[in-house]
């Protein structure tokens, strides 16, 4: 019994240390966002501010001539659109593959998707830029190229696709056969039999997609004509690339960028973690 207590104590201590390392960046950015630049530079190790200062937030209220809400709104538009598009494409596509994968081109489509997952996503943007410009999906206030490029296997769609595939693998085919015998047509089978049972996986897929696409920045930087389509994350990269980094500004923008995903994640953590684990187990 005594040995067990010692084991438990060591276990808690090790895990507490791990948790401290994992959570350190969050603590640093939240506390530093309320410090002045001078205070962060003077004593980088201390977390708690000596005097709470709003200056970091005042400095990010307007960035590159636009209000912070402009970039926040763009992040929402891009993340929500990518999520809708990937969920729609991967669930309907996954369903079609599940119903009859022997149809002409179906195998080719799936293989194309799997292969594009392995291409270095960053470098796929070079030819994607050409495709997007040629299709006329590029310009001021034009989000289409960014959204389409980020909804591919190389970028955000891999996990949602595996979630859908894993889900359909668990659906007994007898369900469909029964409906066919009852005389239901293809559309009725989908609407009455599949759609109701698909809701949980659609919700998980949407959440995972939203969380992973909220911080999109490289497709944004490469496929934007100007700052009209920049996201919060793209602005954070921009702040960082200059030589003189304003730390309180960086901390404040990091906080604004991180807060929404952390909140959404904490509210939905069970669904997200179970979903990702389930989608990955047999993929």
């Amino acid at each position: 019994m005594k040995g067990n207590k010692l084991v438990a104590l060591v276990l808690h201590m090790v895990l507490a240390l791990v948790a401290l390392v994992m959570l350190y960046p969050f603590l640093w950015m939240v506390f530093s966002s309320f410090k002045t630049n001078a205070e962060i530079v003077q004593n980088p190790l201390s977390l708690f501010p000596k005097a709470w200062s709003p200056v970091g937030y005042q400095n990010i209220a307007v960035l590159g001539g636009n209000s912070i809400w402009h970039y926040f709104k763009n992040s929402v538009i891009i993340a929500v659109s990518i999520s809708c598009l990937t969920v729609l494409a991967t669930s309907l596509g996954g369903y079609a593959l599940y119903r009859n994968r022997k149809l002409p081109f179906f195998n080719l489509i799936e293989k194309s998707f799997m292969v594009s997952m392995m291409y270095p996503a960053v470098l796929l943007l070079i030819p994607l830029y050409v495709v997007v410009v040629k299709m006329g999906l590029y310009g001021t206030n034009d989000f289409r190229g960014i959204i389409l490029a980020s909804s591919t296997g190389a970028w955000g769609a891999a996990l949602p696709f595996f979630l859908a595939k894993q889900f359909f693998a668990s659906v007994p085919y007898a369900l469909i056969e029964a409906a066919t015998i009852d005389g239901a047509n293809e559309m009725q089978i989908f609407r009455r039999v599949m759609l109701p049972v698909m809701f949980p996986v659609l919700a998980t897929s949407f959440l995972v997609s939203f969380l992973t696409s909220w911080g999109t920045w490289l497709p944004v930087l490469m496929l934007s004509k100007d700052m009209s389509t920049y996201t919060l994350a793209a602005m954070l990269v921009n702040l960082n690339s200059d030589l003189g980094v304003d730390l309180s500004q960086t901390a404040a923008l990091s906080t604004v960028l991180t807060l929404p995903v952390v909140l959404v994640f904490l509210i939905t953590q069970r669904r997200v973690m179970d979903g990702i684990a389930a989608g990955s187990v047999k993929g």
Binding site: A19, M22, L23, Y24, P25, F26, W28, M29, V41, N43, P44, L45, L85, L92, G93, A96, L97, N100, L103, P104, F106, I109, S112, F113, V115, S116, Y119, P120, A121, V122, L123, L124, I126, L128, V130, V131, L148, A149, S151, T152, A154, A157, E186, M187, F190, W214, G215, W217, V245, L247, S254, L257, V262, L266, Q269, I276, A277, S280, V281, K282
Partner: protein, 305 residues
């Protein structure tokens, strides 16, 4: 003869599409994303790699394998290739072993439900945090005037130029990537742990099995599929590493973190499209070959079991 068979095949195809048009409608969006924004740009990229760089957007002048030959003679390319391999060879086992240990600890009966949830969330939360944020914050932490060096000084140790020396800079990137990804691998292992039937351990205990025997004959085989999958995932992930070197080190100091993705991107920024796409193509072929080998090996072992 040939035209007739082609015609009948086309007719056959037409009737199949007609009969299953709803399924084709369902898959259409997925097909557009996979082909128009997936395979097609990849093919274009390979095409670009055979063109003279400054003609990619104009006359598209072919120069055969010259872009590749130039790279094979470029010492920076070989350094970058070795570096990417080194980074991957360190990161894959480091992430998987850390994740296995964390999953084992989180599955322990000594943790209360609340504590288990807290630690699980703490480990996983970096994975859903935007990658720039982690990179930007850790960059400040390891800065010469940053928190890490202040900590060392308080402990009476000499400060270290974390991001200004080759070895330590690479180490910092390994650490930041571990921080970011270990949570994903941990929860995948953890889910597999929890699927193991506890009565198997009890039976083994009755038979007098030692702890390592239980691990060897019960835990390890049960985790095998997750292990294969995580290895493949992690391999693909780390071979493509980009963000940390772009944000934290800009490929430096002295090319010490100039990973292939970063090197190719810097070629692109210098308008050297031919070299950029040639590097991309070689990296892709390398990843796909090793992934196939890995899957084949993992698959065979599974069948044997």
């Amino acid at each position: 003869m040939k035209t007739i068979s082609l015609l009948s095949r086309a007719k056959n195809l037409g009737s199949l599409v007609g009969k299953h048009w709803i399924l084709y409608l369902f898959i259409s969006l997925f097909a557009v994303l996979s082909i128009v924004f997936g395979i097609y740009p990849m093919v274009r990229s390979v095409q670009f790699s055979f063109l003279k760089s400054n003609t990619v957007f104009t006359s598209q002048e072919s120069i055969g394998f010259n872009n590749y030959l130039r790279l094979l003679k470029d010492p920076y390319f070989w350094d970058s290739f070795r570096l990417t391999l080194l980074f991957t060879t360190i990161s894959v086992p480091l992430n998987l072993i850390s994740a296995l240990c964390l999953a084992q600890m989180l599955a322990s009966k000594n943790l209360s439900k609340g504590a288990m949830l807290f630690f699980k969330l703490a480990v996983f939360i970096p994975f859903i945090t935007p990658d720039v944020v982690g990179a930007v914050v850790w960059k400040q932490f390891f800065n010469t005037n940053g928190a890490m060096n202040q900590l060392l000084q308080r402990l009476g140790l000499a400060p270290v130029g974390w991001l200004t020396q080759s070895g330590t800079a690479l180490g910092v990137l390994v650490f930041v990537e571990l921080w970011k990804h270990v949570g994903l691998y941990t929860i995948i292992f953890l889910t597999n742990y929890q699927l193991i039937d506890p009565s198997m351990y009890e039976a083994a205990h009755m038979d007098g099995a030692r702890a390592w025997q239980k691990y060897r004959y019960i835990t390890f085989p049960a985790l095998r599929p997750a292990l294969v999958l995580n290895t493949v995932y992690a391999f693909i992930q780390f071979m493509k590493t980009y963000t940390v070197s772009r944000i934290i080190t800009f490929g430096g100091p002295n090319y010490a973190t100039n990973f292939l993705s970063y090197y190719a991107y810097s070629k692109y920024e210098k308008m050297d499209f031919g070299s950029a796409t040639a590097i991309a193509t070689m990296l892709f072929i390398f990843i796909i070959l090793l992934t196939l080998v890995g899957m084949r090996m993992g698959g065979n072992e599974n069948e044997r079991k």
